[in-house]
Symmetry: none
Subunit: 265 residues, 2 copies
């Protein structure tokens, strides 16, 4: 899917932006860049420097004279538009673009083009009217000066999100509890309950908890620990700590008994 | 909401990236930028040039020495992480971050920090372990070289998406972090860090933790407690327990000293 997405830059003024756009594309797995009538030399050493390893994209980037030529093999052409236009045109957000992308890809065998305009003035009305849809990246009302490569980055990111969603087997749509593969299995119910039993006994032994006046202490501690879904090693660590405290408590008690027996002597 | 999101850049090498990050932020309505120990001059004329009109953000950007100082007023700290780590940590995608953001904002009155590491090496393990969550921007498997400002752009874009969603009528669809109205405010960063400091000292005092051979003990305990997002009362309870254990440890030590003095008698 991603190899059928074409990024078209029209009338770009700064060679650095071309390189930065290539870099933005490559991080998201896009590879097809087309320049239309750049208002600069096109690809320069500055472009290569800003591409930062994505210059393989620049090597295969054609420079064409017209938007028409750039999108000739595309069945869905979407123009990035900053301004609201005189004549309303179908408009989507980047997220809506991503939602539609897989379906659009299935609907045609050609490519999809995302078209970006000039750094200072965007796309002309005529260019926008060559597009099936417009996409508007929502920006601050008081400052909408999105850098060209940054705009490419946002849409390329949404394209990759769309592609990732098609790659997920249905079973993977239920992520692991912590969003990442964990290093230890979650603690079993029994182990967790044994920990709570141990915790309560220790808290009584050290005089922190009075079962005759429990307030909500154990409930609060249960809630705290259960919320974090402890893994097996974490439960082992916690029980290790309790074991150490138990020893201290016993030693302290033995001393107290010793003291009192001495008192009685 | 957006004014309570803080972008923290650690160890940045290129002044231009700082300016480009400010520009990326401002387009999405973010305004709070903090530099931590930059590995360059910090804000230079190149930064201002790349900020392209977002230099009001640079004017109010403090440069601090530690991550600790930068996130002291934050109740949710999320570190951008490119690599999978030795010790898995709760991880979310930028989209999941956006989904959680409004609820997190309701749950605490402090700020939320999005922390970005060095251009070449990202965040250190120690820095990542100060974070409640990590966020990973999915990139191409063969080329993951996301420019720093581009990474800021993607997350800032998702933050704005999250904010826009709260501006829509049915804004009740953003659950609080625990899916229910909570009885206590979430613990502040300082209180939580003081708890970890106390915990470590106590574990050393009772002989459970040897800082010369730390293994991953404190990292594992940080991960466990940060995952549960402790509330203020829970932190109080935990510190109460530690205080009680401290007293036992002191008594035990005094006894040991007393014992030995008796032995010497």
């Amino acid at each position: 899917m991603l190899e059928r997405i074409k990024i078209v830059l029209i009338g770009t003024s700064h060679p650095g932006n071309i390189g930065a756009a290539a870099r933005a594309m490559k991080t998201m797995g896009l590879s097809r860049l087309v320049l239309v009538a750049p208002r600069c030399e096109g690809i320069t050493p500055e472009s290569v420097s800003r591409a930062s390893g994505a210059d393989d994209i620049l090597d295969t980037t054609p420079t064409l004279e017209t938007l028409e030529a750039a999108v000739a093999d595309c069945h869905w052409v979407v123009g990035a538009s900053a301004r609201s236009r005189h004549l309303p045109w179908p408009l989507c957000s980047p997220r809506q673009l991503a939602d539609r992308l897989p379906g659009e890809m299935q609907a045609g065998t050609d490519s999809v083009a995302l078209v970006f305009g000039r750094e200072d003035s965007g796309l002309s009305n005529e260019e926008l009217q060559r597009c099936h849809s417009h996409v508007h990246i929502p920006t601050s009302e008081t400052y909408s000066s999105l850098n060209l490569a940054a705009a490419v980055q946002v849409l390329a990111y949404e394209c990759r999100q769309a592609w990732l969603s098609t790659q997920q087997p249905a079973s993977d749509r239920h992520p692991a509890p912590f969003g990442v593969e964990w290093d230890n299995p979650l603690a079993g119910h029994d182990d967790t309950e044994r920990f709570f039993t141990h915790l309560e006994r220790t808290l009584i032994d050290i005089g922190f908890h009075d079962p005759r006046n429990p307030r909500q202490l154990m409930a609060r501690l249960r809630r705290l620990f259960l919320r974090s879904r402890p893994d097996a090693m974490e439960i082992n660590i916690l029980r290790g700590i309790l074991g150490r405290v138990d020893r201290l408590a016993r030693r302290s008690e033995a001393t107290a008994t010793g003291d009192s027996s001495r008192r009685h002597c």
